[in-house]
Amino acid sequence: MTEQTQVRGRRRAARPPVTWLDRERAVDLGFLLGLCLLALLGLGPSFAGAGFAIAGLLGLVVSIGIGQAAWAKRLPAIAAVVMVLIAFVMLGGPVALRSLGATAYLPLPGTVLALLDEVVFGWKDLLTTLPPVDGGGTLLVLPWLLGLVAGTVGVLLLRFRHPALPLLAPLGLLVVVILLGVARPASIWLQGATFATIAFAWLALRHRRGVSGRSVDTPTAVRVRRGGAAAVLLAVAAGLAVPLSAAVGDDDRVVLRDHVEPPFEVGDYSSPLASFRRYVEMEEPDPSNLWDTELFTVTGASAGARVRIATLDRYDGVVYGAGDSAGFQRVSSVIDNPVPGDRVEVSIEVGPGWNDVWLPTVGALQSMNFEQGEPRVKAESFRYNLNTATAVVPTGVREGDVYSFGAVIDERELQPEDLGYGPPEARESAEFLETQAVQWSAGHSEPMARVFAIAEYMRRDGHYSDGVLESERIYLAGHHRHRLTDGQGGVNSVFLVGNDEQYAAWMALLATRVGVPARVVMGAVLPEDGVVRGEHVQAWVEVRIADGRWVTLPRERYMGTSQPGELPPQQSTQVSGVNVPPPAPIPPPSALMDQADAELNARRQRRDADLDEPFLAGWPTWLKVTLVSTGAPILLLGAAMGLVVLLKRIRRRRRRTAARMTARVIGGWRELVDLAVDLGVAVPGRATRREQALVLPTAAAGELARRADAHVFGPEVPPDWVVDDYWQHVLTEHQAMTAGLTRRRRFVAAVHPRSLWG
């Protein structure tokens, strides 16, 4: 090959490719798409339904398409990235935010904010939500974004010749998906063997292309050897991947979910047991009393079913509260909660008497659907504890809220023949009842037998009092240690006196002390009509039996029912009979709400506000319509203009800092030409600089063209200072070209993308 032929070849190679998509490129894009999709499928256990796969696939297709178009048009990588960003915003609503309503289909400010919100906070939401999350919820932004990022990175890495570089995109995606996923993989075959096999095949193919042309063997020999090598590679890949993937157990997977602490502290919420006296019958009218007030109406569950308000499993000497904060996870509408029992579909409408964070439920939840009363906000803040079957809505539920759920009910009650699960962890918390535990279970050695003995003792010798009657006002509310042990109805008095609150606390603490895990449940027993009032509220005890289940020890087993009588208890100090009001209900979230939840709610509400356009509330309709209909296009136009200006600045910077001095000079000249193009001047693109100078609207164009030619085609490469001087001259002329123009023409030239296409 002659030198001139080489020169010509290089010149031609610099031209844009004629074909938009050749065969090799199509194969690469196919592999990239397939591998990334395989990696994305790893999110299967994290999302319900196939919505995540569709969102991810769309992201991949869009980003790969944009990347390929940018490659074919010889646009820089930054241009592809910017276009993908635009696509993320423009298409993000219809792809991933359909659940927010029709307005999300348009790239309105609210939609963009929601997208950004999910980009920033969605990861944490995903990791702190009990999988699977809603397949149609806003978290679809994550697979959409993952698809876009992986596709963009992959297609940009295809610009490099190294055969292995493009593999980094699907591999990175796979790692991210595994980290975001659950300990139980979607499919070891998909994520392990199949992925590895296809990846190796792609690598082998690209490597084969890379070495083609260097071989001196005959084509047949080369084909045979390459085919053999590819087969060996595939065999090795499969041979390694299959046993390795099979060998990796669920426990070995490292997922971020295990290391991200849910931002929730259930202990911040007041224990409902502490305000039990709100539900008892009062002698005198009390506005805060709920005895005959409708709390909620339950349909779908049979009469007698136990409605759980809260499970209280931690006693700190003052109050029984919910202690398992880590167990409260965000859940979607579908809850993976495999427990035996009868499946029911229950609907609850909250009445005027219930305004709390605790969400009344029945049985073990399998699904949850908030229907009325800011359902989206509630669904996104809803938390459920699988261990205690307790549901919490940090934003609170109030009158008029309606929700329905599927649940599995296990009505089994504790039997004497049941065995205890094992020694409880918090046995020390009931140490102050050691004497009673020993005395009341005397003659029994087995823990469960001692539990029944204690229950029987309490039921037999105990008396029931709400502390409401004049004569019974000495029996105070509460279940703190002093109340449980004092002489006014406590274990140190002649006989026990109290109601559900105290009896449940005694029973749970004593069972724990004798070695059987127990906890208090605050709830209600469903009446015939399904309307739960304060009178139906109860507190009972649940005991964990040998098979791990928590079974009910109904209050009738341990709570005395007889009145304490007129005689005050002996060995006690007389106290004035003052009616002790129940503790004031602590308002739901507000001050005590966990900070993270507060933030979550705030941004949810902000986002909803944006979507529901309350920022336009009170504005005239015509103004709202005008703003909505014109605002979005204006914003889009503004964004596009800003993008054009940004790209031009990047272009100028790249030109001025090019590696070769002559390239900088050429770039300087191109700056002038591009400005003229943006000003509407028809500059011939294939002309020489001197020919272009003839049409440029500046007197110095000819001189600048001659200088550029001298620097480019002259015998010596210009030094730095000469090039800098040239650029100074260019920038001066750049300003001169627009100096005499109107402000409008200057603006149009600045934001016009015409020169970017050249």
Partner: protein, 322 residues
């Protein structure tokens, strides 16, 4: 070794002085004068093809007058013999030996007027001297010296009794151009001085033949980047592929192209050639070298349109070869 900036400036100054001098005789034809001067400084020959009375001979004579050297005019006619051009060997009875009597070709600038009227045999007599600068008579070569330039003219419309120049002969000419009719202003000025019968006589010598040789040497030192060479080579290749062209640019034509492009750049005061030089010289260099097929003539395709198509097809480089 590359020409320095000072040398390039001097070259340009001298070049323009010569052009100004010749322009006294040939009004309003600055571009043509520059092409002719470039051919001379490139040590090439030029063919002037134009209608009668446009100043072809005037231009040639003015060019000859501006150089302080010998010049001759040969009026080519059908009965002109090769020996009338090259010279003859005559037996000297006093010395008793043959003696060479040089013909009119042995001058610095030779005006071959209406060259296509001579027979092919006589035209061929110019082949050797135009290519090699020497004449071989009876086996003895005789150098014509340096500088040597043939300015030939021919009439494109009078075809009767003429002999078309063969391709080999055409290729000997570095460039071909036409003078063309003067514009109105130049015509008015010409008429105002109608009393001057011989305008070429207004041109006095301002440069010596040695200086011409020196300038030619400087022009050879002008730098040409590989990108420009590649551009030229691509034009040459394309000229052989473009439709309706039977004969494209030859390697000798390419060499001539580069030579004259260097001179052209130096005449502009530059030490380097730019793609614009190649473009500007395309028509005078390629015009007589591209041979169109018969179909082109029937289709109305001209050499000028083919050259324009060539330049449109081949993109000029904007960057040097890395």
């Amino acid at each position: 070794m590359t020409i320095t900036a000072d040398q390039a400036a001097w070259f340009s100054q001298t070049f323009n002085a010569m052009a100004d001098n010749i322009e006294k005789a040939v009004l309003g034809k600055r571009d043509v004068i520059k092409v002719v001067l470039a051919a001379m400084l490139s040590e090439g020959h030029i063919l002037l093809e134009d209608y009668p009375g446009t100043g072809k001979t005037m231009l040639a004579r003015a060019l000859a007058n501006t150089v302080q050297g010998s010049h001759a005019r040969i009026q080519f006619t059908p009965d002109l013999l090769p020996s009338d051009v090259t010279g003859v060997t005559v037996y000297d009875q006093h010395k008793g030996s043959f003696e060479f009597h040089p013909g009119p070709i042995f001058h610095t600038i030779v005006l071959a007027d209406e060259i296509n009227r001579a027979s092919p045999k006589t035209q061929s007599a110019l082949l050797e001297v135009m290519e090699e600068g020497r004449v071989t008579v009876d086996g003895t070569p005789h150098s014509v010296g340096r500088p040597f330039m043939v300015i030939a003219t021919q009439n494109p419309i009078e075809q009767a009794g003429t002999y078309r120049l063969p391709e080999a002969q055409l290729d000997r000419f570095l460039m071909k151009t036409s003078v063309g009719y003067p514009d109105t202003a130049a015509t008015v000025e010409l008429l105002l001085n109608a009393s001057v019968r011989d305008r070429a006589g207004l041109v006095s010598p301002i440069i010596t033949a040695d200086t011409i040789v020196q300038m030619s040497g400087l022009a050879d030192q002008v730098y040409v980047d590989q990108a420009v060479l590649a551009y030229l080579a691509e034009i040459a290749e394309e000229s052989r592929r473009v439709p309706h062209v039977k004969l494209g640019l030859s390697p000798r034509g390419c060499l001539a192209y580069v030579r004259v492009a260097k001179t052209w750049a130096a005449a502009d005061g530059r030490d380097h050639v730019v793609p614009d030089d190649i473009k500007q010289l395309a028509e005078p260099v390629l015009g007589h070298r591209l041979l169109l097929d018969a179909e082109a003539q029937f289709s109305g395709v001209t050499v000028e349109s083919v050259i324009q198509k060539l330049l449109d097809r081949v993109v000029a480089p904007t960057d040097r070869m890395v």
